[in-house]
Every structure is written in structure tokens, then in C-alpha cells.
């Protein structure tokens, strides 16, 4: 017993502490590097996206088109459209987000950027998270900001709009994260559009359910906190797990 607590251990202790401190400092420097790399990757993606504005607008125009289809296909009566609004908004947002997934990794896979990322020595998980965040900023957030317009056109009262914006904004985070897994898994497959939707849509169902529920409650003027919190929980779960899966999938595609 006392042999373990020998003077040797005690003399080692002061020596050991600086080593540990040095290691933790190195680790801190490494994670600071990783955050910086992720920030640069995010900025790069945003800059590239703003140079190709038509690609930015496409998902939004698609969302508007889908919303337009329903009054034409079902009925122009606002009272009926109001009942359909949660479904229309969420199916539209889901499909628009899916449509935009194609841009997420495709160009970077073609021109070798993803390979450079994988070889850069920075954690690929952080870089994938940055790319996914860029995707959300470029599609999820604009969709959330556009959702009130679509909602108003479907006869939803203005009181429901904050809830709808919050639901679409939070839910689309998870959609982008699930999409990043699907997009990275289908890298290198030609004409992967149908496969991509087959992979991502089943996984997105919980978002659709809770998102549409929150929207419906908001439209009816009821408290919509509970489904919104569940959407938040899904987003947190996605943020913690999805970048790892996406990074693993990208590495596999580069093998």
C-alpha cells in the first residue's frame, strides 16, 4: 500500500504536471486550429455560393412553386388551404432542402477539394460540420425566412408566423445534417438523385412529423413549444453524430 505512495511517485509528480499541461496546451492549440480551419471552410463555401447566385435561388423558387401547386391542385379556398398548410410547407421545405443537397459536395468532389480536406490533417468531422452549416445557412435559413410568405399565401394568420419560422429554422438543421450523410454516401455515383432521396427521406420523417405538428399548433394558436423542443433535440442529436458519419462516408468515397 505505502509502497505505491513511494517518494519516487512524489518526486515524479511535479515533473509530470508540466508535461500534462503541455499536452493539454498542445491539444488546445490543435482544437483552435481545427476551429479556424472549419471557419475558413465555412467562409469559402459561402463565398463560392454567393458567386453562383442562381444556384442559391433555385431551392427557394422550387419551394415557392410547390406551394403554388397546392391551391391549383386542391382548391383555392383559404379555409381548406389553411388545414393543408403544415403539410404543404413541410413537404415543400423537405424537397427543396433535398434538391439543394446535390450542390453540397458534388463540385468539391469533382475538383479535389474534398481530398485536400481529408489530407489536410485537420479533423474531417469539423470540416464536414462547417460544410453542413454552410448548406443550412444557404438553404435552411432562407427557407425559414421564406416560409411566412408561403404560409400567408395559404391563408395562415400572421400570429402563427413566428412559430412557423422557428420550426422550419430548427427542423432544417436536422434536414441538412441528414442530407450531408446521404450526399457523402452517394459521392461518385452517377445520377444519384433518386437514390439520394431514397436514403434521406426515410431518415427525415421524424423532422417532418414534429415540424408539421409545431406548424399546425402554431396555426391553431395553441402552444407549440413541445414539438419545437423535440425538433431541437433531433437537431442536437444530429449535430453530435451526423458529421462523424459524413466524414467517414467521405473518407470511404476517397479510398
Amino acid at each position: 500500500m505505502s509502497g505505491l505512495e513511494s517518494p519516487a511517485a512524489r518526486t515524479l509528480a511535479p515533473v509530470a504536471t508540466p508535461i500534462v499541461r503541455g499536452a493539454s496546451r498542445a491539444r488546445a492549440a490543435r482544437s483552435a486550429d481545427a476551429i479556424e480551419a472549419a471557419r475558413l471552410a465555412l467562409l469559402r463555401d459561402l463565398q463560392l455560393a454567393f458567386r453562383k447566385r442562381s444556384q442559391l435561388i433555385q431551392p427557394l423558387a422550387f419551394f415557392a412553386m410547390v406551394t403554388l401547386l397546392f391551391p391549383l391542385a386542391v382548391s383555392p379556398e383559404l379555409s381548406r388551404l389553411r388545414e393543408l398548410a403544415p403539410g404543404v410547407l413541410w413537404v415543400g421545405a423537405l424537397l427543396a432542402s433535398l434538391l439543394a443537397l446535390e450542390f453540397l459536395f458534388r463540385d468539391d468532389a469533382y475538383d479535389g477539394t474534398l481530398e485536400q480536406y481529408a489530407l489536410s490533417g485537420q479533423p474531417l468531422t469539423a470540416l464536414m460540420f462547417a460544410k453542413t452549416l454552410a448548406h443550412w445557412l444557404l438553404t435552411g435559413l432562407p427557407l425559414a425566412l421564406m416560409a411566412p410568405l408561403a404560409a400567408l399565401s395559404l391563408g395562415v394568420g400572421p400570429a402563427a408566423l413566428p412559430g412557423i419560422v422557428a420550426a422550419v429554422a430548427i427542423g432544417s438543421v436536422t434536414l441538412s445534417l441528414i442530407g450531408s450523410i446521404g450526399a457523402s454516401l452517394t459521392l461518385g455515383i452517377k445520377r444519384s438523385g433518386a437514390l439520394l432521396s431514397l436514403l434521406t427521406l426515410p431518415l427525415s420523417l421524424p423532422v417532418l412529423i414534429f415540424g408539421a405538428r409545431a406548424t399546425q399548433l402554431a396555426i391553431h394558436g395553441a402552444p407549440y413549444g413541445a414539438p419545437l423542443e423535440l425538433l431541437g433535440a433531433l437537431a442536437v442529436l444530429g449535430i453530435t453524430l451526423a458529421p462523424f458519419a459524413a466524414a467517414a462516408a467521405v473518407r470511404i468515397s476517397l479510398e
Binding site: 455515383i189 427521406l201 426515410p202 431518415l203 421524424p206 412529423i209 467517414a248 468515397s253 479510398e255
Partner: protein, 245 residues
């Protein structure tokens, strides 16, 4: 030393021979259990006091639904083993699981729909269990689609393994969210089986069928695994000996 049997599982010729030797040990008990279970379920079990003879489809439906989930778990565990330890045979197991699981899922959906028509008055009810079973079918189809879409076999193995693992995380979330969604949207109009009051004559055949379907799955898996290994190792020299023998 004690792990030699496990390490030998990584060798395709060994697995091929082992699967061939084990298949009858699962196939015959499966046939016996299913035959006995069907006899017990279709002939010996008394008719249900509410559903009459209609409930007997349960003896195919419930084991299929049970297997659809169990095969998915087997597939995901095999995929994870293959991904972590780079074990080719484990990937072959996962690849062999997918079509079997999709078939069980399809069988569960079809029998569920056929059961629903006389009992609920409709072939399709957006019941949470039916809905999540349908989603499971799509997960299987996506898995097989991804595997078929990637030409390089090793990349196909590893990419589909990631998908299988992602699916495992999602299956419970999907299941509970669908249940929750359903409890809000649908009035409890659906007639349910009187659960606790199932007499022994009804339960025993069901358990036999569950056991029989599980054994059937193993026998099918071993058979598919052999052809999968043959296809993957087609350029290896041991194949020539097997084929010429």
C-alpha cells in the same frame, strides 16, 4: 488460443465450408418448427372470440414483423464489425441479410394489409406499426440501392455499412415519432387483439413460428452467404477446388 475459432471466421474458404455444414442444422429444425407451428396455429388453436378464424394470419404476420427488425439488427451489427475490423466476411453477411430482411418486411406489410381488410375494413391504415414497417422497407431498399450504386465492391461494403449504422440510430426515433404522431391524429377506432387473454393453445404455435422463422432466417442467411462468398472470391484459387469437387 480460445479465439482461434473466431479468427478463422475471417477466412472465406473456412466460412464457406462452415456455412455449408451448418445449413441443414438450421434448415430442418426450421421446417419442423414452421410445420408444427402452422398445424398448431391453423388447425389446433381455437378461433378468436372476436375475429373468428381471421386472426390466424397472425402466425405469419407477427413472425415476419419480428424478423424484419431482427434481420436489420443482424445486418447492422455485421456491417459494424466489417467497418471496424475490416472483416470481409462480415460485409458479406450484411450484404446477404438485406434481401432477406426486405422480404420479411414485405411479407409483414402484405399480411398486415390482408389482415386489416376484414378486421379494420381497410387494407391500409396509417397505424404506427404499419407506417414504421413501411419506412423500414424503404431503409432496406435504400441500403440495397446504395450497395448496387457503387461499383467498387469494397467501397460499396463500407459505405453501406455506414448507412446501416445510421439506420440503427434512426429506427427507434422513427418508431417513437410515428407512434407519437399517430396518437395525436387518429382516434382509437382500430380494434386491437385482446392481448393478455391469449390462451396457451394460441400462444404456443406463435412461439413455435417465431423460433421457426428465426431458424429459417439463419438457414437462408447461410445459403446466401455461400453464394455471396463465391461471387466475391471468384478469382481466388480455392474456388476452383470447390467448383471442380
Amino acid at each position: 488460443m480460445a479465439w482461434t475459432w473466431f479468427h478463422r471466421l475471417a477466412s472465406p474458404p473456412h466460412v464457406y465450408a462452415l456455412a455449408a455444414r451448418l445449413t441443414p442444422w438450421f434448415a430442418w429444425p426450421a421446417a419442423l418448427c414452421i410445420a408444427a407451428g402452422l398445424w398448431g396455429g391453423l388447425v389446433l388453436a381455437p378461433p378468436d372470440y372476436q375475429q373468428g378464424d381471421g386472426f390466424r394470419i397472425l402466425y405469419v404476420h407477427a413472425p415476419s414483423a419480428w424478423m424484419s427488425l431482427m434481420v436489420y439488427m443482424t445486418m447492422a451489427i455485421a456491417a459494424a464489425i466489417g467497418l471496424i475490423w475490416r472483416m470481409k466476411v462480415a460485409h458479406a453477411v450484411a450484404a446477404s441479410c438485406a434481401p432477406i430482411g426486405a422480404s420479411f418486411t414485405f411479407a409483414a406489410l402484405v399480411t398486415g394489409a390482408l389482415w386489416g381488410e376484414p378486421m379494420w375494413g381497410t387494407y391500409w391504415e396509417w397505424d404506427p406499426r404499419l407506417t414504421s414497417e413501411l419506412v423500414l422497407l424503404f431503409l432496406y431498399l435504400g441500403y440495397m440501392g446504395l450497395r448496387a450504386g457503387i461499383e467498387d465492391p469494397q467501397r460499396a461494403d463500407r459505405a453501406s455499412a455506414v448507412l446501416a449504422i445510421v439506420g440503427v440510430v434512426n429506427v427507434p426515433i422513427i418508431h417513437y415519432s410515428v407512434t407519437w404522431w399517430n396518437s395525436l391524429h387518429q382516434a382509437p377506432s382500430v380494434m386491437r387483439l385482446a392481448k393478455p387473454a391469449m390462451p396457451f393453445a394460441m400462444v404456443a404455435p406463435l412461439l413455435l413460428m417465431l423460433l421457426g422463422f428465426t431458424l429459417l432466417f439463419v438457414a437462408l442467411l447461410l445459403t446466401r452467404l455461400r453464394s455471396e462468398v463465391l461471387a466475391r472470391e471468384r478469382s481466388a484459387s480455392w474456388i476452383r477446388e470447390v467448383v471442380s469437387a
